[in-house]
Structures are given as structure tokens and as C-alpha cells.
């Protein structure tokens, strides 16, 4: 729950900081070209004044396959760490959550960016016996948290009011699970690198806004899949190209 609180606080800061900055930064004194303090001629309509960035909110579904990775189980900072193999947890663990993406379209249809997010779930994974204790899934509403993040590299194929994207996420992911035992509550964590190709389908709802859906899988372990919905604002109309014909 601490991570959830931290994420919510970070998200609130992300929303609040630009408003505060604007409130403190610039007060417009005129709407006449040459006298404007906060704006320049062309702001709002000229391509030269727009930033080829896209900002998105994601609603993802993510999967973490624990087999093949060792989990570190901690009860408190001073207690020794217990280690158990992820395969003992059973099937891949799933979560749903939210994330964000920032993309830059500086080279025509090619784009780069970053993507990060968190997923939350309640799973009935198998109890694990380690160091003489049995760690069972916690009854908390959220007993699994998946965090991921990384760099994006992709290409957008403009097809008019829709577009197809092929992209890959290069980063990492980690899973934290809450367990309890006769010794107390444990948090077990494992993480690994990720190369995750995505197929992405966008619909332009306005020249600067898309609603998209994507799906992908980790190339190192195709049991780790992801899918989601994305609402995205684009600094340039149609990212600079409506269609390639």
C-alpha cells in the first residue's frame, strides 16, 4: 500500500506542478503581437511553435511469470532475507493498473519515449515453505504489485483517422507480493529485464487526441503478456502526418 500511496502522490505532483509553475511563471499582459509576454506569434496554430511530443495515460493489464526467478522475502529491514524460487508460486501473476507514456516524434514516423506504470492485483498463488516457515498469500485487497518501466522505440504507420504502430519497450519489471506466516507479514520481490514488442492501434478522436489499444509479450518469456487502453494527447496534429498516401 505504501507504493500505491507514493504513486498517487507522484501522480498528483505531476498534475499540480505545471499549474503552479504557470501560476507563478507568466501573466499575460496583452493579446497583441509584439506586446505579448507569455505567447509568441503562431502559438496554437503553427507547426513551428508546436512540440512533437505525445503524452498518454494507460490502463494496462500485465502478467509476470515468476518461474525462473528467485524471490527475496523480507519481514523487516533488519531481518535476514529469505530466498525462494519463483516457480513455487505457480502460474503467472496478473495485475491491472495505470501507467504513463511520453513520446517524441522527431524523425517523421519514428518515435522514442519512455513508458512506466504499476499494476495491482489480488492473487491466490501457492503457499511457499522457506526457512521452516510457510508463506501464504496475504488476504489484503492488493497482494500483488507489478511495476514496469523502460524506453520505447517505435514506428507509426499513418492510415488516415486510424494508425498502426509497431514498437518495443526496453526496460525492466518487478513483482512484489504480500504474504503472511506465523512469523509475521512478508514482502517478496523479484525483477528482471524486459524487451516487449507491442502492436498498437490508434483512432484519432480529434487531430490531437487518440484512443488506442495495444498488446505485446516479453521476447524472453512469452507467458509474460500485456495489453491495454491508451488515451493520448499529441502536440502536433496527427503527429505531423495524416496518411502516407
Amino acid at each position: 500500500m505504501k507504493r500505491l500511496s507514493a504513486f498517487v502522490v507522484a501522480l498528483a505532483c505531476l498534475v499540480a506542478v505545471p499549474r503552479l509553475a504557470h501560476a507563478r511563471g507568466c501573466t499575460e499582459v496583452s493579446d497583441i503581437v509584439g506586446y505579448e509576454k507569455c505567447h509568441r506569434f503562431g502559438d496554437g496554430w503553427a507547426v513551428e511553435r508546436s512540440v512533437p511530443l505525445a503524452l498518454a495515460l494507460q490502463l494496462p493489464y500485465v502478467t509476470f511469470d515468476p518461474s525462473g526467478y528467485d524471490f527475496d522475502a523480507n519481514r523487516g529491514k533488519k531481518d535476514p532475507t529469505l530466498t525462494f524460487p519463483g516457480s513455487s508460486l505457480g502460474a503467472p501473476i496478473t495485475a491491472m493498473g495505470f501507467g504513463a507514456r511520453i513520446e517524441g516524434f522527431y524523425l517523421g514516423p519514428l518515435y522514442t519515449g519512455v513508458s512506466f506504470g504499476m499494476g495491482f492485483g489480488h492473487e491466490h498463488f501457492a503457499p511457499v515453505t522457506v526457512g521452516g516457515s510457510t508463506l501464504s498469500p496475504s488476504d489484503e485487497l492488493v497482494n500483488t504489485t507489478i511495476v514496469w518501466g523502460g524506453a520505447l522505440l517505435g514506428v507509426r504507420v499513418p492510415l488516415g483517422w486510424v494508425s498502426l504502430r509497431l514498437e518495443a519497450l526496453f526496460g525492466g519489471t518487478s513483482l512484489s507480493i504480500s504474504q503472511h506466516s506465523s512469523l509475521g507479514d512478508f514482502t517478496s520481490t523479484a525483477g528482471h529485464g524486459l524487451i516487449e514488442p507491442h502492436v498498437f492501434f490508434d483512432v484519432w478522436t480529434t487531430p490531437n487526441m487518440t484512443l488506442g489499444a495495444y498488446a505485446g509479450a516479453n521476447v524472453f518469456d512469452t507467458k509474460e503478456r500485456t495489453a491495454g487502453l491508451v488515451l493520448e494527447w499529441h502536440g502536433r496534429a496527427f503527429d505531423g502526418q495524416y496518411s502516407f498516401w
Partner: protein
């Protein structure tokens, strides 16, 4: 009761809008028809206002509305607007866009986008004598050749309210 109130509200709203609409679309205020032109993909609308400050250097303000009808970028260079002023006797004098920061230059109007700009005009000492301002759009974009000029009547100085003695 409700429909009567609704009608009253509607009538009040319309009456509030009427003087503004009349001022804006009074055909006597324009030559060559309403000051709206379609230049290739770009819809352009113009109107003239006068700076409210009652100072000796008060000038005219040109309001430009832009809209790109197309789903592609369009070249647009408002610095190539050619302006001229005419006084009552028909004498012409040059008018230019006031651009102290050299911001007005060739740009690309983004796809399907709309925008507005308010540009001060350098009319010179003949502001009060200026009756009309004509805009030649012929060079503002590759599609503008042959576009009809826009002529606008210059608003006269508004009388300041007299102070009560």
C-alpha cells in the same frame, strides 16, 4: 411559467447579441463583401479594431482568424500581407504590420487547426484620416494568387465619457 421565462431569457440574450452582430456584419463597413476569404485550404477572417488607449500613438489592430480545412500542413506567410490605407479623398498611404520582435514570418499552419492573431498596424500620423485599410492576400501562400483583396473601414476614435463636474 417556465416557457415564458425561457422565451424572456432567449429574447434578452438575442438582444444583447444584436448590437455586436450588427457592428460586425454591417455590410456598409466592408468593401468587396464580408472580410472572409478561402485561400486554398485556409479560411481567413479579418476585422479592424482601434486601440482603446486614447493616446497620441494609438493605432489600429488587425484581428486575423485562421482555420486550416485540410488534413495536411499548409504554408502561410502573414508577413507578406500587403496593406494600404486610403483617406476620404482617395489618397493612398502605406500601412505595415507592427512586428518589433520580427515574429511574423513564413510558418506552416497545422492540419485542421484554428487560431487567431491580433496585430497592431503602423498607420503613421494619418490614423484619423484613414478611412479604409485594404489587404492584398496574393502572396501569403502558394494558393493565394488571385485572391480577392479585403477592404475594411477603419473604426473611428470612440469618444471618452465626459467626467461629471
Amino acid at each position: 411559467m417556465l416557457p415564458r421565462r425561457l422565451l424572456l431569457g432567449l429574447a434578452l440574450t438575442l438582444s444583447a447579441c444584436l448590437p455586436h452582430a450588427r457592428t460586425r456584419w454591417d455590410h456598409e463597413a466592408f468593401e468587396h463583401g464580408p472580410p472572409v476569404r478561402l485561400v486554398g485550404c485556409v479560411e481567413l477572417g479579418f476585422s479592424l479594431d482601434r486601440e482603446t488607449a486614447q493616446t497620441s500613438d494609438a493605432s489600429l489592430l488587425l484581428d486575423v482568424s485562421l482555420h486550416n480545412r485540410c488534413l495536411r500542413e499548409v504554408d502561410l506567410d502573414l508577413s507578406r500581407l500587403r496593406l494600404s490605407g486610403r483617406d476620404e479623398s482617395g489618397g493612398a498611404h502605406p500601412v505595415s504590420l507592427y512586428d518589433p520582435r520580427h515574429e511574423i514570418h513564413a510558418m506552416h499552419l497545422d492540419s485542421a487547426v484554428s487560431g487567431t492573431e491580433r496585430i497592431r498596424l503602423d498607420v503613421g500620423a494619418s490614423l484619423d484620416a484613414t478611412q479604409t485599410i485594404c489587404l492584398d492576400l496574393g502572396e501569403i501562400s502558394p494558393d493565394a494568387a488571385g485572391a480577392q483583396p479585403v477592404c475594411l473601414f477603419a473604426p473611428t476614435a470612440r469618444a471618452l465619457p465626459k467626467e461629471e463636474e
